[in-house]
Symmetry: C2
Subunit: 370 residues, 2 copies
Amino acid sequence: MSIQVPFLNLRAINAQYQKELEKAAQRVIQSGWYLCGAELESFEAEFAAYCQTQYCVGVANGLDALTLTLQAWLEMGKLSKGDEVLVPANTYIASIMAISKNGLIPILVEPNPETFNIDVNMMAAHLTKRVKAVMVVHLYGQMSDMEAICAFSKENQLLVIEDAAQSHGATINGKKAGSFGEAAGFSFYPGKNLGALGDAGAITTDDAELAEVLRALRNYGSHERYKNLYLGSNSRLDEIQAAFLKVKLTYLDDEIASRRSIAQRYSTKINNPLVVLPKVENEESHVWHLFVVQLEHRNALQRHLQEHGVQCLIHYPIAPHHQEAYSELKGLKLPVSEALHNTVLSLPIDPTMSDSQVELVVKAVNSFTL
Amino acid sequence: MSIQVPFLNLRAINAQYQKELEKAAQRVIQSGWYLCGAELESFEAEFAAYCQTQYCVGVANGLDALTLTLQAWLEMGKLSKGDEVLVPANTYIASIMAISKNGLIPILVEPNPETFNIDVNMMAAHLTKRVKAVMVVHLYGQMSDMEAICAFSKENQLLVIEDAAQSHGATINGKKAGSFGEAAGFSFYPGKNLGALGDAGAITTDDAELAEVLRALRNYGSHERYKNLYLGSNSRLDEIQAAFLKVKLTYLDDEIASRRSIAQRYSTKINNPLVVLPKVENEESHVWHLFVVQLEHRNALQRHLQEHGVQCLIHYPIAPHHQEAYSELKGLKLPVSEALHNTVLSLPIDPTMSDSQVELVVKAVNSFTL
Ligand SMILES: Cc1ncc(COP(=O)(O)O)c(/C=N/[C@@H]2[C@@H](O)[C@@H](OP(=O)(O)OP(=O)(O)OC[C@H]3O[C@@H](n4cc(C)c(=O)[nH]c4=O)C[C@@H]3O)O[C@H](C)[C@H]2O)c1O
Ligand SMILES: Cc1ncc(COP(=O)(O)O)c(/C=N/[C@@H]2[C@@H](O)[C@@H](OP(=O)(O)OP(=O)(O)OC[C@H]3O[C@@H](n4cc(C)c(=O)[nH]c4=O)C[C@@H]3O)O[C@H](C)[C@H]2O)c1O
């Protein structure tokens, strides 16, 4: 059957803002200034304000946002090579790569199978003197238990970095994702809730020194033209992408509201006993980047939905510790994560979905039998 | 005095193609596909054809083009951590960083002070069993002596990577920059002869396996969605930048012709005995990314020109081994390089310069006295 409900209709999402996006592009093309200029500066200010942080540093993508933050802490003497960093075992592999690429050691921590997020009790179980930081991932758009995690980290003098790639705009008691840790990495990959029209990312923080080091690290390690202090990277957020992001940021809260409305309809109307729906502790803490159900017969449901024109994805089919890139971790036993990787399925969720498309997904899921 | 001749008038350069660039942007915005799609694929094919190579792999920038190529050779077992790589001592620091960032050791080799490029005789002086590769940089737009370098490298089983960031379109006997080494890294930084409207870069090569590994490395180490073979990076060339580059590639040869014409006028008309003009062995081997003169009183000339409304830059004021990022190299004695860093000055060279602007520069340089 042809696709009735695409997993994510990015073309339709951006078509809503077509005129504004074209104007933004035109403005940047004409300006003659394409990197680290006024567009980036104003986007950084707007995104920092949105996230309730003092600083925002734009970089080339979400992986770099995490990688450069950890490198900055190494340069600042807050971390040393070989230090251990707690990170959830079930996340997009980029979170873990950011740790390894800096010569730090990722310690994979099992998640809570109901929230998909890092289990604070399990964090305690992995605590040794070698652990110096924790990277929490607000997976699928739902915030981790930041109050418990921050208390635990403070008690044990751990740095906290939030991987907020999937959770722009989520809040706990009115406090935004990206404002809890010492720093947070965001991705603006096109498919994210706040997506550029190409690769982009950012770090939010209240730490002025960290922001300053990051501004050098993204620019060949240079604060000042032709002076290089660090072995840096080239990781800049293009002016044209900053201009696009400024447009899209103004619609982010509306898009989150649409996502929440779809999630609510899924949650109330999907009643197939084979399918476990996602649990949400707190409405405002979830921005529904993904709507992820669990079931033993995940592959069969994906085929069934495909036959009904509904496109699904799996986030993610292979656990990081089973990837070839992490052969040194393959001996780990992480039963909760491993089970999740075998049972999760992401239903389409997209602010431009029509009511009838939502109905179609609900019906297709409910009609699934073994 | 106000600026009469800017160093590089990127706004004017891109204004020539305004309509086409806006159309390209519009096409990509509307497409709904922003990464690793049809625009990139066709740009890669066109740029490979332009460079006379089998493959082109687009990446996020020039530094990554070099860094990922060396990483690919590490992954392929062609290099090992700790191997030494010969590289010119006077280059933009990114060339050297690409080596260090991979755990390889840069061996800084003095240039020929007349061509600014790596001195083949000095390469031989640094040859030990630990040296496994050479990175040549075609500085300022002029090709290195590739016949001698390739012969030397073949004899000594060294891999050759060309840093062609400044030399798109230069040729030796009709053979293009980027087609001599096992691989070449290009930058499409906006100010380059072929410049995007943001960051972009590429690798050219005839090695199918290398191209394949690079395609994974730029994409989180993944050839196939959700399967990660390497600790890769996120280093993609955005669709919108690929679309811009396709427009600009069609004008590259015209722009090179304009640059050559300006260089020729500078070379014939500047006759200030204090100023040493760049030496060119072969017209076609120089694409005049920069027009670099040498003189003892470089700073005084820069001020003098500034007073006459002529904007100059210095490429580069500080030698890489004197940068704080390379404190471990600060003991090196590299007199040729050090002298160059104190004596070079880049005059404006830009395909949109008017005849009267060229005259103004010539007059201003010729009127300089001590
Ligand atoms: C927790 C966490 N930390 C760090 C990161 C790293 O951030 P990054 O470096 O910015 O990628 C991620 C990234 N995370 C994502 C990851 O979740 C995964 O996301 P995905 O949903 O599998 O993405 P996808 O399938 O490529 O796109 C989703 C849909 O959108 C459609 N699409 C896509 C594109 C690009 C398009 O142009 N047009 C389209 O129509 C195709 C699909 O239907 O893969 C991406 C490459 C990563 O950026 C993360 O989740
Ligand atoms: C040999 C070699 N290897 C690897 C690399 C690394 O490649 P990369 O990672 O792609 O940078 C380089 C990069 N090389 C260049 C390097 O040569 C240097 O170039 P530069 O001439 O000093 O550049 P600039 O002063 O920023 O810009 C030149 C002029 O253009 C104006 N301009 C600039 C921009 C960006 C704009 O939007 N609008 C403008 O009007 C301002 C200036 O008048 O610094 C850059 C950041 C590097 O990309 C290299 O030379």
